[in-house]
Amino acid sequence: MEPLLKVDDLRTQFHTDAGLVNVVDGVSLELKKGEILGVVGESGCGKSVTSLSVMQLLPKDISKVASGSITLEGQDILAMSPSRLRKMRGNQISMIFQEPMTSLNPVFKIGDQIMEAIRFHMKISKKEAKVYAIEMLKKVGISRPESVVDEYPHQLSGGMRQRVMIAIAMACEPKILIADEPTTALDVTIQAQILNLMRQLQQEKGTSIMLITHDLGIVAQMCDRVVVMYAGQVVEETDVKSLFKNPKHPYTKGLLASLPQLSGNQNKLKSIPGQVPALDEMPTGCRFAPRCEFRMDECDTSKPNLLNVAENHTCRCYLYQKEEIPS
């Protein structure tokens, strides 16, 4: 089946004081219809920049997509005109952001902000749009939608604001929803509400979701497939069960081992020594090599490729060179 969204060998560059750096370096991923794809990694691994590249929302003056391709149902997003992009955003692909506090405009009423998207994409009258906006608010579980449409963002709590963001994002029934750390700023009980809501919408409408998060617990609960990123590259990709049961890449293993568990007793956490390399000081070989406990000589000198280590399971590591299966 042709994937809905296909990112191929994406390279996104930023101008920094240290010169031009590749923040995303050769990322390929696919989003199939109706699935929830998790993109995990720690800060600075390029997960958000990948999603901003897909939406073409990168700050133009300091960054650009240097090479690679992004296609939505076979159409090249990188070649789209600004007006074509505007038609795509919100209608075919929507995005919700981490900060529900700052992603709504403080000087416009909630209703106006939902109606803006509806009226732009659906060409319906103001009255109809308002009815539809109230309906959307009801759908995302806001208790008194009739009065909330006329309120301003500061009158709502964080959880309600994120619900409003979801209402805006889902208003035009997009095929793809990109959720960039949608619950990071929220408390756990509110996080549970929002995640349930996203899952429910996904099941009802068959929306594909690209869920960007650093929380492996959320990944385990929500996702079908997972892409693990480290320092701008994909290091492992597989279905969610294999990732947690049989992680391959030393980074994924280390990440899972360093989580404090809610069940069982732990006296000491396993941690990954050192820290993520700076963007302008990337190692010449494997980017994880300086922190890796299984490092070999070749890891320092040459870059490993993504290998097929099992069916639907790829991993960027020399340890599995012998085990590679032909694709």
């Binding site: 408390d187 509400q193 617990g217 609960q221 404090p260 809610l262 020594p273």
Partner: protein
């Protein structure tokens, strides 16, 4: 073990004023009458959602914020009533590690200066002794002493938090309030810092009050855990028993809401409806009754008592008040 810190009915209200004469029209009841004890050498974890008053509690204990009412007995001395001058000297016993390693270090000071300051203010060490102590502290937290002349921006988040820890340790305190010390860090780095804190605790027999919103982190580091909701403690139990069998409905909901990093585990989730009410007008009776799945009529009017249920487990809930037989506990599931 002896009790190091005993807190009696601690209250911190922030007045809300209005108009030209700053007339007080209300109060945000951030911490509304909590009592607990911390044993020497133990870690008491405090969990709760944003706005529940956990950070305010930590700050009021050290008198970074002046408590409105209540007693804080540290080794028998009431810190809450200590005159300013004595307090200053007394503070060498208690220190704090802050949440944001980016904001809690002066960007214009080198690490040397950051670590020197408490030593110069409180100790009477010679210049060489101070230098020696700084070297010692840096090695203790796993930093290279050669980095002492660097500025905070040259370090990563995890390293900055290590500097914050070294600063807290400088005067050999007995008690450290750790306010979300690993919340701003990535998991792999978080594990490093948590291990370090545990090692240091053993080495210097430190007592921690560990404030966090992350239940799994609290479980890892604490001996006992207190759960706060809207300015009050709702449950306080040894770590093992609270995670094995949470008593208060809020604790139950909180625990079931944490996503578990294992896709094979499918469990019943208690999803609370609505948001935390405002601390300006907390609900009458039990503050949790507006969201509680098992609320009864009595909860709406009567504040539940803070009482011991069994073996060192305290809870404030009407379900456990009259007699806490097993059958009754079962009925709230």
């Amino acid at each position: 073990m002896s009790t190091l810190l005993k807190v009696n009915n601690l209250i911190k209200h922030f007045p809300v004023t209005k108009g030209f004469f700053q007339k007080q029209v209300g109060a945000v009841k951030s911490v509304d009458g909590i009592s607990f004890e911390i044993e020497e050498g133990e870690t008491l974890g405090i969990v709760g959602e944003s706005g529940c008053g956990k950070s305010t509690t930590g700050r009021a204990l050290l008198r970074i914020l002046e408590p409105t009412e209540g007693e804080v007995l540290f080794d028998g001395v009431d810190i809450a009533k200590l005159p300013k001058k004595e307090l200053r000297a007394f503070r060498t016993n208690m220190q704090m590690i802050f949440q944001d390693p980016y904001a809690s270090l002066n960007p214009r000071w080198t690490v040397q200066q950051v670590l020197e300051e408490p030593l110069i203010t409180h100790g009477n060490l010679t210049k060489t002794e101070v230098k020696q102590r700084v070297t010692e502290l840096m090695e203790l937290v796993g930093l290279s002493p050669q980095q002492a002349s660097r500025y905070p921006h040259e370090f990563s988040g995890g390293q900055r938090q290590r500097i914050g820890i070294a600063r807290a340790l400088a005067l050999n305190p007995k008690f450290i309030v750790c306010d979300e010390p690993v919340s701003a860090l990535d998991v792999s780095i978080q594990a490093q810092v948590l291990n370090l804190m545990k090692d240091l605790q053993q080495k210097f027999s430190l007592t921690y009050l560990f404030i966090s919103h992350d239940l799994s982190v609290v479980k890892f580091i604490s001996d006992r855990v207190g759960v706060m909701y809207l300015g009050k403690l709702v449950e306080l139990s040894p770590t093992k028993s609270i995670f094995a069998e949470p008593l208060h409905p809020y604790t139950k909901a909180l625990m079931s809401a944490v996503p578990i990093p294992d896709p094979e585990i499918k469990r019943e989730q208690i999803v609370l409806s609505g948001d935390v009410p405002s601390a300006l007008h907390p609900p009458a009776g039990c503050a949790f009754h507006t969201r509680c799945p098992v609320a009864m009529d009595i909860c709406k009017t009567l504040v539940p008592k803070w009482s011991e249920v069994s073996g060192g487990r305290k809870v404030a809930c009407h379900l456990y008040e009259q007699n806490h037989t097993k059958e009754e506990q079962g009925s709230c599931h």
